[in-house]
């Protein structure tokens, strides 16, 4: 259980580190100047890949649409903004997000479509029904059984995973019942 948390923590840390490391990419900075219409010059947007200290109209607006003494007046109206992004973080985030989403969708398809089919083929019909039925722990002492057995049995790894999965599925089923069928929480 702890390793899962450590892993989670580690991945979060990686994410933070990655975002700070990849922040400085030469493509990832820009200075964007928006210049409104001036006399007969149309409004223009200029983008240049310059550093923060050069982010002003004189450096960014090229070619200058007006002559000599008008430059100052033109530049006064321009609004220059320095912006930076980290494309690495964006790429990493989107790809990670899509892969997690994909995995979840695959697992969802497996759980809802494939598994019932496989089970039916392997065990026949009766097993399935029984499996659905054994969820209810209405006995007051069954709960105690659960609590005690949870803390004592130390099976091998595979059993543990199987057990954890079973327990998780039972929990989700219980949650689904209370949210969607009985509407006791979250409605």
């Amino acid at each position: 259980m702890k390793s899962v948390f450590l892993l989670e923590f580690f991945s979060v840390l990686c994410f933070v580190l990655l975002s700070t490391v990849t922040a400085k990419n030469s493509e990832d900075i820009r200075c964007k100047c928006i210049c409104p219409p001036y006399r007969d010059v149309e409004g223009q947007i200029y983008k240049q890949n310059v550093s923060l200290k050069d982010c002003n109209c004189l450096h960014v607006v090229e070619p200058m649409p007006v002559e000599g003494k008008d430059v100052e007046a033109y530049c006064l109206r321009c609004e220059c903004k320095y912006e930076e992004r980290s494309s690495g973080t964006i790429k990493f985030t989107i790809i990670m997000y899509l892969s997690i989403l994909g995995l979840l969708l695959l697992y969802m398809v497996y759980l809802t479509l494939l598994e019932p089919m496989l089970k039916r083929r392997l065990f026949g019909h009766s097993q399935l029904i029984q499996n659905d039925d054994d969820v209810g722990d209405q006995q007051p002492f069954a709960n105690a059984h659960n609590v005690l057995s949870r803390s004592h049995s130390r099976p091998n790894m595979l059993n543990k995973v199987e057990h954890a999965q079973q327990r998780w599925r039972r929990q989700v089923q219980e949650q689904r019942k209370s949210v969607f069928d009985r509407h006791v929480v979250l409605s």
């Binding site: 702890k2 899962v4 948390f5 989670e8 979060v12 840390l13 994410f15 933070v16 700070t20 493509e27 820009r30 928006i34 210049c35 409104p36 149309e42 409004g43 223009q44 947007i45 200029y46 983008k47 109206r77 609004e79 912006e83 930076e84 992004r85 980290s86 494309s87 973080t89 964006i90 790429k91 985030t93 989107i94 790809i95 997000y97 997690i100 989403l101 979840l104 969802m108 809802t112 007051p140 002492f141 709960n143 105690a144 005690l148 803390s151 004592h152 998780w168 929990q171 989700v172 949650q175 689904r176 209370s178 949210v179 969607f180 069928d181 509407h183 006791v184 929480v185 979250l186 409605s187």
Partner: protein, 878 residues
């Protein structure tokens, strides 16, 4: 370790017996405990020495530390029972017990500290673990917020097109360095292709419009479908905003799995999908839930927090602050939000930790820089123009609008949610989501203000017209004669663009109002902040432009004459939008201080605090005039969570005797005697009743109180004894006393259950006013309280009894029948699982039914009832 903790609990409870308040002065407490216990022993001996069984010298264990060490020696056979002291799902925690447990643990670590270097390190680690866990929570919630922001932006733009050069970029990032310099073409860069361009090969014309329309609906529907499917299959608890439930959990309720790993993952993933699907919802509320999940998960790393429900809630308070901090980029606002809105128990230590968590989370999000504007939120704005005194009038009007909207929204949404909860209509969550998403997408696309992302809409409404006159909102008629007017300053006559924008904004306002009512409560992650703010921002912008035009055309009015000279800056419509947003959000949630701080952290201008305060306060007053509870309290009440609101006052004159269970007509209280029950009898008591705890008395004859035992602990202990101890059979005697009762020689081995007995249950006398009882429950966070008369147990009051009582009184005082339509009585079978604190040892099923009925008869449920509610609402306005 656990054994000692457990065993110490009994001792520390005893010391608690005497002094009710949670004093930190341990020495004093212990000493007082000793004195008190002597008194009780003497009393026992004097009054009914013979009534007590021969072995009932339980004063032995009640002394101070010395006595407890003797019991330790005596009890060497007694092993710790795993699971005792934990709680069942949907149960209320006992704050007093948990806090006491923590102090005991702390004391133990402190006393061991000097023994060795290792123990000293352990104590240091223990002291630091609070800060460590909030740091981790802040890091994780900041990172997750960054992920959600980036992914939601990208997915949202996916509805319109795709970046061919790098598919992971959204529209803005795709055209990062493109050279389209003119204003008209600034959104068109070669790398970014709309779906019509990709599929049909043409960017203009009706065909491509229809194609784009179709793709927009297609993506919106598929995102919504995926979101609701994932929620339904993996984590049903991930739906909704989560704040009502977190409020309830923080007040001391257990919902297992609500803050678990799967909920966290599914909520994060589906939140992106839900936001991108264009539904009228926001990500701010769910971010609080996400942060709380992080807090809960990280608290499992530290035994100090994982084993103590009260301590865990301190972490959750800090986590919710971190959640708001990243949602709005407002660290201080987050801390205040946690304090004002969600937290129940908020000591200063938690305040500092919340502050730190909010700081860390904001720092992480800032370093990720998800929007590329070096800010934490998309709609960060900066104003530099001052405001004038006469503008307070429109601001207050906006506040009135916000309050009205809040009251209307709460009633309509609750009526709709109740319908979903109680009729067959609630059986089709997937279909409902698809339907709402389809309607939203179909209606939203033609209007540019509803087509775009709601955050972007808010940003556009908040921002003033700059040099880039891109949106229609800024198409003012240029005045050719004055050089000043052409500069883009405000106070110019509106052009046709502004008028058409007004129409579209009005339509968008109506659309948002209707859709938000039906969206909040869908079975996808859905927050309320952003849609509320959008509604307020639209209304505010409309009012702002109206005032601006008024000032332009009537600049000789006495109001405008003084402040608004022709051509000078006077009215800032963006500021009106911001004030409107704050007012609407305030009307819905009834927050005040935290809301103002959040909004002023969004603007970064201190000078707008007064307008914001005026608007938010007005909106709260107006909203409170129509119903005192905010949307979260209303949802808590709708779901029947056991939440004892600390804000409400109790003004009635009832006595504890009238509230306690059993009632006069009920069967007598189910009690256990301390030493003449057998295992079989105990089991039959447990099997036949559904109460969660039983008072333990001296004997049937004397009826005097010994302690209180919880059902869960009893079942676990019996089961444990069956497995571990030999010779425990059904006819074994069960005893709660220190020494086994004298038994015939051939009887089976008795079972000792003293370790699970709470020997210091809270008691009040039957003549205690309910005012005091309610105060005790609120301030100490009790789970149950026994009612005694001359030391004899009469009954029990649980948190749930108090809630029922409050509800009953409310019905008597102000009948909630607001609808003139015929009222349909809907009774929900209140399920045993959601009889969370049904500790009462008396059956109150009958009463329960009526309570439910009363609770649920608020507005009608017939189809026309909704409209009659609306008409009544309008009627009450006039």
């Amino acid at each position: 370790m656990e054994s000692e903790q457990l065993y110490h609990r009994g001792y520390c409870r005893n010391s608690y017996n005497s002094i009710a308040s949670a004093s930190s002065d341990e020495e004093l407490l212990d000493g007082a405990g000793v004195i008190m216990d002597f008194h009780t022993t003497e009393d026992d001996n004097l009054l009914d020495g013979d009534a007590a069984s021969p072995g009932s010298n339980y004063a032995m264990s009640n002394g101070g530390g010395a006595a407890s060490s003797t019991t330790h020696l005596l009890d060497f056979l007694e092993e710790p029972i795993p699971g005792v002291g934990t709680y069942d799902d949907f149960h209320t925690i006992d704050w007093v017990r948990e806090k006491c447990k923590d102090r005991e643990r702390h004391r133990k670590i402190n006393s061991k500290k000097k023994e060795s270097a290792w123990e000293f390190t352990k104590s240091l680690y223990d002291a630091w673990s609070g800060w460590l866990v909030v740091t981790l929570t802040g890091l994780a919630s900041g990172a997750l917020a960054g992920l959600i922001d980036i992914a939601a932006d990208w997915m949202n733009d996916l509805k319109e097109g795709v970046c061919l050069s790098a598919m992971w970029f959204n529209h803005e990032q795709c055209c990062w360095t493109s050279n389209e310099t003119t204003f008209a073409e600034r959104d068109k860069c070669p790398q970014w292709k709309s779906w019509a361009e990709l599929i049909l090969g043409q960017a203009e014309g009706p065909g491509s419009y229809i194609m784009n329309y179709f793709m927009y609906i297609y993506w919106a529907l598929s995102f919504a479908f995926l979101a609701v499917c994932l929620v339904k299959v993996f984590a049903p608890y991930a739906c909704g905003s989560g704040i009502p439930e977190i409020k309830t959990i923080l007040s001391g309720f257990i919902i297992r799995g609500y803050l678990g790993k799967w909920t966290l993952m599914i909520k994060t993933i589906t939140l992106v999908l839900a936001v991108a699907s264009g539904l009228s919802l926001g990500k701010e509320g769910p971010l609080v839930h996400v942060a709380c999940c992080c807090g809960n998960i990280f608290s499992y790393l530290f035994p100090k927090y994982s084993k103590n429900e009260a301590k865990k809630r301190e972490v959750l308070s800090a986590a919710s602050a971190a959640g708001v901090s990243v949602a709005f980029g407002a660290p201080i606002g987050g801390v205040l939000f946690s304090l004002e809105e969600v937290s129940y128990y908020f000591p200063l230590k938690t305040l500092w930790r919340s502050f730190f968590a909010a700081l860390v989370a904001a720092f992480v999000l800032r370093s990720i820089n998800p929007f590329g504007n070096s800010r934490l939120v998309l709609f960060y704005v900066e104003y530099h123009t001052p405001w004038y005194l006469f503008e307070l009038i429109p601001f207050i009007l906006l506040g009135v609008f916000g309050g009205l909207w809040g009251a209307f929204f709460i009633r309509a949404n609750i009526a709709w949610c109740r319908r979903r909860k109680s009729t067959r209509f609630g059986k089709f969550p997937v279909l409902e989501v698809i339907l709402v998403a389809a309607i939203t997408a179909v209606v939203a696309f033609p209007n540019p203000y509803t087509r775009q992302n709601t955050s972007e809409l808010i940003k556009e409404l908040f921002t003033d017209c700059g040099p880039l006159e891109s949106s229609q909102l800024c198409q003012y008629r240029l005045q050719m004669n004055g050089s000043k007017a052409s500069e883009g300053g405000p106070n110019r006559p509106a052009g046709p663009g502004v008028y058409s924008a007004m129409w579209q904004l009005c339509l968008a306002l109506i659309f948002k109002i209707i859709m938000t009512i039906f969206t909040f409560g869908l079975k996808v992650p859905s927050g309320l902040f952003i849609p509320s703010m959008a509604i307020g921002a639209i209304a505010g912008r409309i009012v702002g432009i109206a005032v601006e035009q008024l000032a332009y055309y009537h600049h000789d009015w006495f109001l405008f004459k003084e402040w608004c000279e022709v051509g000078a800056d006077c009215i800032t419509p963006g500021l009106y939008a911001m004030v409107g947003a704050a007012a609407c959000l305030g009307g819905v949630t009834r927050m005040t201080v935290s809301l103002v701080v959040i909004v002023f952290e969004l603007t970064g201008g201190l000078e707008y605090i007064v307008p914001l305060m005026a608007a938010v306060m007005t909106s709260k007053w107006v909203g409170d005039a129509f119903g005192r509870e905010g949307i979260y309290e209303a949802h808590i009440r709708l779901n029947g969570y056991p939440f004892l609101d600390a804000k409400e006052e109790f003004t009635h004159t009832t006595l504890a005797r009238e509230v306690m269970r059993p009632r006069r007509s009920d069967p007598p209280l189910a009690v256990l005697t301390q030493d003449d029950l057998t295992v079989e009898e105990l089991q039959s008591v447990i099997n036949e009743t559904s109460y969660n705890g039983f008072p333990v008395i001296v004997s049937k004859e004397s009826q005097r109180l010994v302690g209180f035992a919880l059902r869960r602990d009893i079942t676990i202990a019996i089961e444990n004894a069956r497995r571990k101890q030999e010779g425990i059979v059904l006819s074994s005697r069960v005893y709660f006393t220190q020494h086994a009762p004298t038994l015939p020689a051939d009887s089976p081995r008795p079972l000792k259950l003293r370790s699970i007995l709470d020997m210091s249950p809270f008691t009040v006398t039957d003549h205690t006013p309910m005012e005091i009882v309610v105060d005790i429950f609120r301030k100490l966070g009790l789970r149950q309280c026994l009612v005694t008369h001359n030391g004899i147990v009469l009954g029990i009051i649980t948190k749930k009894n108090i809630l029922e009582h409050l509800e009953e009184l409310k019905q008597h005082m102000e009948p909630l029948v607001t609808s003139p339509a015929p009222i349909t009585h809907v009774t929900l079978p209140l399920l045993p699982t959601l009889a969370p604190v049904s500790l009462g040892s008396a059956s109150f099923g009958g009463l329960h039914e009526t309570w439910c009925e009363k609770l649920l008869t608020v507005p009608g449920f017939k189809p026309q009832a909704f409209f009659s509610l609306f008409s009544h609402f309008l009627f009450s306005l006039c």
